[in-house]
């Protein structure tokens, strides 16, 4: 099967290069047959890479340990579902995964894009082919070939790193990869628009769902990553500002900015250059992230084996940056804005500040991530900045952004009148003030927490107000009941109301982050029967009684499990179990270092989080780290709301579109005027 896999990789390179050459140098504008051939090269590339993927999976599922990759990441006793994720658990497999998925997306973009945009499609195919074959070339020439064989056949594989043996790890990396990978499609459309000089809002319409898809995958990937870090790494937090985490956040930030600023281009014909710059920047940040993750230039807890592969990405990053910015520069005069900003107090103004804040955050995160390298280059000593730096910079900017989340959807286009402002903002401002008062009354004194929570309340009321007004308008105009009105309101304006739902999700994340800042912690050493206690941020006293340590064997590991009985203010709340695991291969030999499974008891108010840190040999005396983390559940609830809102925004269908004018207004998401505002 490895021969088939190798052959498929080479076939992919050849067919991809052929298609790209035709796309850029074959005069396909006058020859429709040639344009079709370029589209088909995308399909052929996809087919070849699918064959390669099947070949690798075959090797993994048949335990062919003669293949180095299979021996390095799987073992005979690895549960079957982890065999699936072993495909992308290592450097080499994940490169193949990337190439395969990109080629699938490329083929889908060819098949699903409306024929209105056919002048761009061959260029899109060309760009996607080049990016895909770059990945294949890294496999073939960068010493990262997943089909490489060993000189001997080990009796069993090394197994999958226990920290990756977690359900979150089956979903988290592919979600992030899917987000990263699908970003190539909007980038390809942007490049195609520049190459074909089709510089109206057409390319934005053609790629908008791709950008949303990508944003949704990134958001889900990041959230599941937070969950994984929380339940698996045992330090009790969800976000550590680690370089690799930052690398996933950077494109998310710029893509979020892009999704907002394209609305201004669609509606007003402004910001054309900025949008091009943003999408190019976002694509480059995904490659940058891949470079950071795989090169080991910046110390991180998430490590692929350090290898030269990273430098291929650095080279690709530079070439892609030079080519795409040069192309943008040559088309600069064609990207004249069609309108000017009329007032700062307008939706355009709010969106511009939203963009600046998002890009500002992205820049500070990039700066903080690269600071060790920069300081070493400039001053000769490595200086690192940690979470305090990122928190200090990003908390104020984040709250400003949250405020704009409330302002943006309500403020009028072009120029907001005093009446518009009064009408829209009285209720939300009252909401914010009431929340502030209530929090002060409850004894909260931290200024950042007060701001974060009351601004969240302000933004939440803006969304509720929007829904309420829309529903009321439908109830009077169409004589519908409230539930029907809500359904139809959302169904007819999916982009707008889906967007509001996503905004609510973001507010929920802010609340959860604020809660996590009030986490309390202690470490204790207990004999069986002994009790420790810890006060939570709400003032409750939790007590923990050590019940003892039990040892047993499971499928592929030996387990020591310590159990604590917990009580809140003296009321028994059940037991929490935390484990130390020593993974073994099928001959019973230990593999990897021991790992820890934390025990968590979760409710809407707070999580009780127990880490069993081990016992001296042969005794049941145990060390524990005990944490009480307020509001953590709300991250996962926010994630659910976000997915729901995102899907709502993208759900196909919607109202019948007859004229171009209607289409334009629906795509901009504003078919229903604010109730009561003169049309």
């Amino acid at each position: 099967m490895t021969y088939l896999g190798q052959f498929a990789l080479w076939a992919a390179v050849l067919v991809g290069a052929w298609g790209a050459a035709l796309a850029f140098f074959g005069k396909w504008e006058e020859r429709p047959a040639l344009a079709t051939a370029i589209t088909r090269s995308s399909y052929a590339l996809c087919a070849a890479l699918l064959v390669a993927a099947v070949a690798l999976w075959k090797g993994i599922f048949t335990h062919d340990f003669n293949i180095e990759y299979v021996a390095a990441y799987t073992s005979r006793n690895l549960p079957e579902y982890y065999l699936i994720s072993a495909f992308w658990a290592g450097q080499k497999g994940s490169l193949l995964f990337w190439a395969v998925v990109l080629s699938i997306f490329g083929a889908l973009a060819q098949a699903l894009t409306s024929q209105r945009f056919k002048a761009m499609l061959p260029y899109v195919a060309g760009i996607v082919n080049i990016v895909a074959i770059f990945f294949v070339m890294v496999m073939l020439f960068g010493g990262a070939n997943p089909f490489e064989r060993l000189a001997f056949t080990p009796p069993d594989g090394r197994g999958l790193n226990p920290q990756l043996q977690n359900p979150g790890m089956i979903i988290h990396p592919p979600m992030l990869y899917l987000g990263y990978i699908s970003l190539t499609i909007p980038f390809a459309f942007a490049m195609a628009a520049l190459l074909a000089k089709q510089l109206d809002a057409g390319w934005i319409v053609a790629m908008r769902k791709w950008a949303l898809t990508s944003w949704l995958f990134l958001s889900v990937g990041i959230t599941i990553g937070m969950w994984w870090a929380y339940v698996e790494l045992g330090w009790g937090g969800v976000w550590a500002w680690d370089p690799v985490e930052n690398a996933s956040l950077l494109p998310w930030l710029t893509l979020t900015a892009f999704l907002h600023s394209v609305m201004i281009q669609e509606k007003r014909g402004m910001l054309k250059r900025w949008n091009m710059g943003l999408i190019v920047g976002t694509f480059l940040l995904t490659i940058f992230g891949t470079f950071i993750t795989r090169s080991g230039v910046i110390a991180s807890v998430h490590s692929f084996t350090q290898s030269a592969v990273g430098y291929f990405f650095l080279g690709f990053l530079m070439v892609a940056a030079i080519l795409s910015f040069t192309l943008l520069y040559t088309r600069w005069p064609l990207l004249q804005p069609e309108a000017q900003l009329e007032s700062m107090v307008s939706r355009e103004g709010a969106f511009l500040y939203n963009n600046l804040a998002l890009v500002g955050i992205a820049f500070s995160v990039l700066w903080g991530t690269l600071f060790p390298i920069l300081s070493e280059a400039v001053r000769g000593t490595k200086i690192t900045v940690g979470p305090p730096f990122f928190n200090k910079v990003n908390i104020p900017l984040g709250i400003f952004l949250l405020f704009l989340t409330g302002v943006g959807p309500l403020i009028a286009w072009r120029k907001a009148s005093a009446a518009n402002l009064r009408r829209q903002f009285i209720a939300p401002l009252l909401g914010g003030i009431v929340a502030l008062g209530a929090l002060l009354a409850s004894g909260l004194r931290s200024p950042w927490a007060l701001m974060s929570l009351s601004v969240s309340a302000f933004a939440l009321v803006t969304v509720i107000q929007e829904f309420a007004r829309g529903i009321r308008a439908r109830m009077t105009m169409h004589a519908e009941g409230a539930p029907v009105a809500l359904m139809r309101l959302v169904a007819r304006n999916r982009r707008r109301y889906g967007g509001y739902v996503v905004h609510v999700a973001i507010m929920v994340y802010f609340v959860a982050f604020t809660g996590l800042a009030f986490s309390t912690k202690t470490t204790v050493d207990l004999q069986p029967g002994q009790t420790a206690s810890l006060k939570s941020a709400y003032g409750h006293t939790w007590t923990f009684t050590h019940l003892g340590v039990s040892q047993y064997e499971a499928l592929n590991r030996r387990v020591s499990a310590a159990t604590l009985e917990v009580a809140k203010d003296g009321v028994k709340m059940g037991t929490i179990k935390s484990e130390k695991r020593q993974h073994v291969d099928s001959f019973g030999n230990p593999t990897f270092e021991p790992s820890t499974e934390v025990g968590i008891r979760s409710d809407l108010l707070e999580d009780v989080y127990v880490v069993y840190a081990g016992s001296p040999d042969g005794t049941e005396r145990a060390s524990f780290s005990l944490l009480i983390n307020p509001l953590v559940s709300w991250f996962w609830i926010g994630g659910g709301i976000l997915v729901f809102g995102g899907l709502l925004t993208m759900w196909p269908g919607g109202p019948q579109v007859k004229t171009a004018r209607q289409r334009a207004s629906i795509q901009a998401g504003y078919t229903v005027p604010l109730a009561g505002v003169a049309e």
Partner: protein, 143 residues
């Protein structure tokens, strides 16, 4: 004033705030990240380094780890090949922190005037590489 000028002023204000936050952030939270040789050399030059938090990255000298479970304390020695000094850390150690094979650690804390590094944060990386294992396995197979 034209709206575009106003917007430009607003943008400058945002950029200025971001820059200010970043500069202040680096000043207040930036930490030296050094090897033992660099740390010893720097501390000899500038004794005030003993009073601020630094990060040091080095290998743990094999066999030097002494644990005191009751006090949750570990003592060990780190080295970069040329310089070495003792480290003391109180708290729970990561799973990967063992004496079985050579490990790399990043310790964050203060380098005391007594020549002992008092760590408050300890991160351990597993230094073993797959390639070495394959060689070992191949050897076992032939014998």
């Amino acid at each position: 004033m034209k709206p575009s000028t106003k917007f430009a002023l607003g943008s400058v204000a945002i950029v200025a705030v971001v820059s200010l936050l970043m500069v202040e952030g680096v000043k207040q939270t930036g930490t030296y990240f050094l090897t033992p040789s660099q740390l010893v050399a720097k501390a000899a030059q500038d004794p005030s380094l003993h009073d601020i938090g630094v990060k040091v990255s080095a290998k743990v000298v094999q066999g030097s780890i002494k644990r005191d479970p009751a006090a949750q304390r570990v003592d060990f020695t780190i080295s970069d090949g040329t310089r070495s000094f003792p480290v003391t850390y109180t708290g729970l150690v990561p799973d990967t922190f063992t004496d079985k094979n050579e490990i790399e650690v990043v310790a964050e804390g203060k380098f005391g005037r007594d020549g002992t590094f008092h760590a408050t944060v300890l991160v351990a990386k597993c230094g073993s590489r797959y390639e070495a294992q394959w060689d070992e396995m191949a050897k076992n197979k032939t014998t």
